[in-house]
C-alpha cells in the first residue's frame, strides 16, 4: 500500500526514519483532497443538470440557511484540518529535535557548493558520508547568501543562514547515495548546487574514518572509502544528463588537523585567549572550561544555556546577552571570523569540559552542573 501510493505520487525513496511517517500523512491528505474535490464537483455538476434554466422568466425561490447546517459545514472540515495539523506537528517536533546521541557534522554552504566538516578531522566538499542507523545532526551556516539543504529521500530540509547556525538531523535507514540540492535561490548556479549523502554501513564508515585519520592531510578531502571504490556507483551528481562541471564553484582549502585543534589555533590567533581562559580560572571574560551547555546568568536578569546559537551570538553580538558580573569589553567579531572559523571555535569550546568546579572563585558567574554531554 505504501509502495503503491509512493509511486502514484512520484515520491522519492524513503531512506530516513521520518520518511515513512511523513508520507503516510501525505497519502491521507491528498486522497481526502481528491475525494472532497470530486464530491464538490459532482454536486455542482448535478445541480447544473437538475436545475438548468427552463425559461427566460423563470423565478427562483429564496433559500435561507439554518444555523445548524452552517455549524456543521464549518465545524467538520475545521476539525479534520486541525487533526491533520496535530499529527503533522507531532512529526515536525520530532524532525526538529535532534537526539542527544547524534553525531555532528558542520555544513557550510557557499555559492555554489556544500562543504561538510567532521569534528574528528576530515572535511569534504560535495560528499557527506554518514553511517546508517545513527542519528546525524547537521549544524548549518552559510558564507554568503541564504541556501537551503534539501535531501528529498530523507524528507529533510533546512535553510543555511549567513552569520547564524541552524540545525537539523536525520537517521538514514539503508546504505546508498542520496541527492542533496539547494532549494533557496542563491544566484547563478543555484540549480547546480548539488551534493550527495553517501550512507555507509557502520563497518564501512568506521573503515573510512580510520583511513582518513591515517592518510596524509592532502588526501583528507572527499576521498572515497574502500567500500565505495569497490562498488562503482555513479554519484548522484553525475547521473544528470547535462554536463554540469563538477565540483561546482571554487574549492575551499582543506585545513590541517581536527576541527577542535583548528579552533584552538583560531582562538589564539584572533586573541580570544587574551580574555578567556580554558582551565576554569576567571579572567576578563568567562572561562571556556565547561562553558558548553552551561546555564549562564545574564546581566539584567534571566539565564541562557550556552548552546551553539548562544556561542555564535556572543561572538557576533557580545552586548546582546551579557553574562552577569563581567564588564562589556568584548568586541564584536562580526566580519572577523568566517563561518568555518566559528565552527572550529565552537567545536573547540565543546571539547573543554570536565568537573573542575572547585577551582572557581565565588562571586563570578554560577556554574550549574553540566547535564548530558
Amino acid at each position: 500500500m505504501n509502495e503503491f501510493f509512493r509511486q502514484v505520487l512520484f515520491l522519492p525513496e524513503q531512506a530516513s526514519t521520518f520518511a515513512r511517517d511523513v508520507d503516510h500523512l501525505h497519502y491521507v491528505i491528498i486522497s481526502t483532497a481528491m475525494v472532497v474535490a470530486t464530491l464538490i464537483f459532482g454536486l455542482a455538476g448535478f445541480f447544473l443538470i437538475r436545475y438548468r434554466r427552463r425559461s427566460e422568466s423563470q423565478a427562483t425561490r429564496k433559500v435561507q440557511t439554518s444555523l445548524g447546517w452552517e455549524v456543521l459545514f464549518v465545524g467538520s472540515p475545521l476539525a479534520v484540518f486541525l487533526a491533520w495539523f496535530f499529527i503533522g506537528y507531532h512529526d515536525f517536533v520530532w524532525m526538529q529535535t535532534p537526539p542527544p546521541e547524534a553525531m555532528d557534522v558542520y555544513v557550510v554552504a557557499k555559492q555554489w557548493m556544500w562543504k561538510f566538516t567532521y569534528p574528528e578531522g576530515p572535511n569534504a566538499i560535495g560528499v557527506l558520508r554518514v553511517p546508517v542507523g545513527r542519528p546525524v545532526r547537521l549544524l548549518l551556516t552559510s558564507r554568503d547568501v541564504i541556501h537551503s539543504f534539501y535531501v528529498p529521500a530523507f524528507r529533510v530540509k533546512q535553510d543555511a543562514l549567513p552569520g547564524a547556525y541552524t540545525q537539523t538531523w536525520f537517521e538514514v535507514t539503508r546504505p546508498g547515495r542520496y541527492r542533496v540540492m539547494c532549494t533557496e535561490y542563491c544566484g547563478l548556479k543555484h540549480s547546480e548546487m548539488w551534493a550527495e549523502v553517501v550512507a555507509l554501513s557502520p563497518e564501512d564508515y568506521a573503515a573510512w574514518l580510520r583511513e582518513q585519520r591515517a592518510g596524509p592531510v592532502a588526501l583528507r578531502d572527499a576521498t572515497p572509502g574502500a567500500a565505495e571504490r569497490d562498488e562503482p556507483l555513479v554519484p548522484a551528481r553525475l547521473a544528470m544528463e547535462y554536463s554540469a562541471e563538477a565540483p561546482h564553484g571554487e574549492l575551499m582549502t582543506a585545513e590541517r588537523g581536527t576541527l577542535a585543534e583548528r579552533g584552538e589555533r583560531v582562538a589564539a590567533e584572533k586573541g580570544c585567549l587574551r580574555c578567556h581562559t580554558v582551565d576554569g580560572t576567571a579572567h576578563i571574560g568567562p572561562t571556556w572550561w565547561g562553558l558548553y551547555r552551561r546555564e549562564e546568568r545574564l546581566e539584567g536578569g534571566g539565564t541562557v544555556v550556552a548552546d551553539e546559537a548562544y556561542l555564535t551570538e556572543s561572538m557576533m553580538k557580545p552586548q546582546v546577552k551579557q553574562v552577569e558580573g563581567y564588564a562589556l569589553v568584548m568586541p564584536s567579531f562580526q566580519g572577523q571570523l568566517d563561518a568555518a572559523e566559528v565552527a572550529a571555535l565552537i567545536e573547540y569550546i565543546r571539547t573543554l569540559r570536565g568537573a573542575r568546579r572547585d577551582d572557581i572563585r565565588p562571586g563570578g558567574p554560577v556554574y550549574e552542573p553540566i547535564d548530558g554531554r
Binding site: 505520487l9 423563470q58 440557511t65 459545514f73 486541525l82 547564524a164 535561490y185
Partner: protein, 540 residues
Amino acid sequence: MNPSTAGSLAEPTYLNHETTVRSWLLTRDHKRIGVMFLVLVISALLLGGVFAMLLRIELLTPGPTIMGPMTYNRVFTLHGVTMVWLFMIPAIPSAFGNFVLPLMLGAKEVAFPRLNLASVYIYAAGAALTVFGMVWSGADTGWTFYTPYSTTSPTAVTPILLGVFIIGFSTIITGLNFITTTHTLRAPGMHWSRIPLFVWAIYGTSVIQVVATPVLAMVLVLVALERVAGVGIFDPTRGGDPVLFQHMFWFYSHPAVYIMVLPAMGVITEVVCAFSRKNIFGYRMIAASTFGIAFVGFFSWGHHMFVSGQSTFGSGIFGVLSMLVAIFTAIKIFNWVATMYGGAIDLKVPLLYVLGFIFLLTFGGMTGVAVATTSLDVHWHDTYFIVAHFHYIMVGSVLMAFLAALHYWWPKMFGRLFPERWASVAACTIIFGFIVTFLPQFLLGNMGMPRRYYQYPSEMQWLNVLSTAGASLLAFGFGLIGLYLVWSLRYGKVSPANPWGSRGYEWFSASPPGPHNFREPPRFEREVHDYTVSEAPHVF
C-alpha cells in the same frame, strides 16, 4: 457603428460623450479610469505571459535549451514581478472595482475622483520604472527579493524595488477611495445588509491594502537603502539579520495573496448568482468570512518560514492559524455550490469560468492545508509543489475571476456581446490548459524538484514537457480571447441593457452607462440578486 445609437434612446454614454484624447487622459470618470486600468493590466498580463512561455520552453530539456542560466534567472524574476505586482494585485480592484463599485452602490462617482485619476498615473509610473529596470539589466532575485541575495546581486534590483514601491501608493489610494465611497456614497435604500458581496470583497481587500502595503513599502526602501548606502539591516556582516526581511516581506505578502483572491471571490459570487438566478446562499457567512480571511490572513505569514530556523513553537502557531484561513475559504466554496441548489442555471461563459475557479480553488485550498501541515511542508517548501499550489490558488482564482468578470461585464462596459461559441471554446481551452500546466508540477515537487531551477535531473523531463504543453494551450486560449473581444468591439451584436437578466444593482444603469451613471437617482428597494421577483430591473 456607435452602440448607443442602436438602443431605443440615443443617449450619450461614458464612451462617446467626449472623444478627445485629452478627455480620456484627464478624465475623472471612474468608468473611464476603470477602462484605462483594464488596458494597463492586460498589457502587464501579456508581458508576464511572454516571460512565462520563455521559461516553459527553457524547461523542455533538462539542460540548457534556449538561454543561459543568468537569463533564465532574470526571466523568472521578471515573470513573477510583472504578474504579481503589475497584474494580479491591481487587476480586479483597479479595473473592475473602479468600473462597477460606484454603479453597484448607486453612486455617481467615487469619493475622490481626482485621487482616482492620480492612482492610474502612479501605477503607470511605477510600472514604467519597473519595466525600465527590466530592460536595463533585469533583477535576478525572484519576486520575493530575499536578502541578502537581493542586496548583493549585481543586477538592477533597485529600479524594480522602487517601481514596486511606487505601485504600492496606487494600491493604497485606490483602497482608501473604495472605503470612503462605500461609507459615504450609497444610494437610498442600501443599508449595510444589502451591499453587494462584490463590494464587501473589495471593501475587505481595501482594508488589507491600507494596513499592509506600508509595511511592504518600508521593507522595499530598506532593501534599496542597503543596496545603495550599505546600511546594515539585513546583512549579517554588518550586524543585520537576513531573516528579518522575510518576516517583514511576508507580513505584507501573505495578506497580499488575499488582496488578490478576495476580489476574485467577490466576482465569483456575483456571477454565480446571476447565472443561477438565485440569491446568494448565506450572505452573512460570505461577508463575515471575507473579514475573517482579511483578519486571520495577517497572522499566518510564518508558514512561509517553517525551515528558516524560526522556533518550532512559532511554526506550530502559524500552522494552526493557516488552518483557520483555510476554513473561511471552505465556507465560501460551500456557499457558492449551495447557491446553485434550487436555481435556474444557465451555463454561459462566465459560469464556465466559475466552475474552473471552484475546481482550482478547492484543489489549491486543499493543497494549502497540506502545506500548512508542518511536517509535510519540510519536504515541499521551495519545490515545484509550492509553485503549483500558489498557481492553482492565486493565479487560478485571479485569472478565472478576471476572465469571468471580463465576460460578465463586457456588455456593461462596451455595450457589445461577444460571440458565445468562440468564448466557450476559449474558456474550455484555458481551464484545461491550466490544469495540464500545473498538475504535473505537484508531482515534480513530490519528486523533489526545487523551484527556480534552470536545469533539473533528467528523470523529471517528461512532466516538464507536459507542463509546457499545457502552457501552450493556455497561450492559445488567450490569443483566442484577445481576437474575439477586439472583434466584438466593432462587429459584436449590440447588447441589451441587461443581457443576462441579472438582478445585480449595477444593471440598474444603462449599458454602457451614461457619463453620470444614472439618469435619475436609483433607489434600492429589494435585496441584491433577489430573483423571487420575475421582472428584470428597471433602468434608471
